[in-house]
Symmetry: C2
Subunit: 215 residues, 2 copies
Amino acid sequence: MPHIPDPPRPGRPKDSTKHAAILAAAKQLFARQPFEQVTMEAVAAQATVSKMTVYSHFHDKETLFEAIVTSVADQMIGILSGSDLRDAPLRERLVAVGRDFLGVILAPGVCEMAHSLPATLRDNRPLALRFYNAGPGRVRRALAAMIAGAAERGDLAVDDPAFAADDLVSLWEGSRPAMIAFGLAEPVLPEEIRQRAERGTDIFLRAYRPDAGEG
Amino acid sequence: MPHIPDPPRPGRPKDSTKHAAILAAAKQLFARQPFEQVTMEAVAAQATVSKMTVYSHFHDKETLFEAIVTSVADQMIGILSGSDLRDAPLRERLVAVGRDFLGVILAPGVCEMAHSLPATLRDNRPLALRFYNAGPGRVRRALAAMIAGAAERGDLAVDDPAFAADDLVSLWEGSRPAMIAFGLAEPVLPEEIRQRAERGTDIFLRAYRPDAGEG
DNA sequence: TAGATACTGGACGCGACGGTATAGGATCAA
DNA sequence: TTGATCCTATACCGTCGCGTCCAGTATCTA
């Protein structure tokens, strides 16, 4: 996404801080309420900006929403593409990916939104796909590759790396995202994220360790 | 919930088939769209009933929604309270519970709704709690008890039965519910439910088998 | 048969919200 | 300074959906 460097137009330029403020306000509101319940007036008020300004930066409510989703997706990519640790032992690599993944998916703002997204995105397949591929999908693909490599080296006894990656992610998450979405649990602390990543990884390794004799 | 047997009132009695039709129509619509997008007119049309009739049976849109949630929750309880199989081997018992659970949670109508519920129920804790306790919560409690029993008998090496139950449910579900909610996958066939229940259970048993030496 | 209630269909009041219009002040480049 | 554009504030329009009212008809009990 190369940011075209403003072809110098006459008149007063747009205030990029307002743009950011609107984006931040919308992100916060969409995280709390589903699409229909977020009013453009509320976004404007939250950003301490006139409603007209909102419409001057984002033509549409849907355009604004898509900008949010895209932004979160990009943020996910940024965080998740860093965690690899080429030559650390397998467990450490998995735990690191798990920590990053949980850090994103359980973040105070993201988690609630992630669970109100489906309802809104069900009739917007392209955007839904993009979001999924930037977050959960990306992690699953990376994990499947790591697992396949470990299997070839004989470090894991795995039938299908994709299934195994799914298992690992599921063990990391547990019921936490659902509970948060239901409003039955508070957002997690970093300490719990670390514990979940380690616990899930250990259980995974125990289930798939080579001497378990599973084809 | 004992159904009070109609204190005989004068005049034409309410048509219970209409009541059921409204409930069914609403269940179908709420499964597809979030709360705000379902119009009472649509419910009436779907039930081939006048809008006024809808309001005569359910005072409110929220009342109707709560009736749906309650109905689904009761249905869950009905299905899930049957699966126990007192003296079958552990694996068979777990697989049976898993099949029932997945059958409910991945059912064509329930799964989509389950993922639009949180957004609607976040400001209705009691109802959210009731739903959770009737479905996922109930299963987790039952599983924790079964797992604790197996651990006492030495059939499993488990630190915390509640965590372990969480792991098992997570392995059963995988990413399927999320994918369906995002509209990126179709509702599942019974065959896949069986496979998931067995696969998840086997992986769980492998991770927690006693000779793995985990405290 | 009479009285009471249920169902239908259409019309409608009302509030909420997305989006537009307008007018006036602010801020930039030339 | 000028002209173009941005931002604000407010008023406004159109629509949509909830919930109600009403007049007419159907159905039940006594």
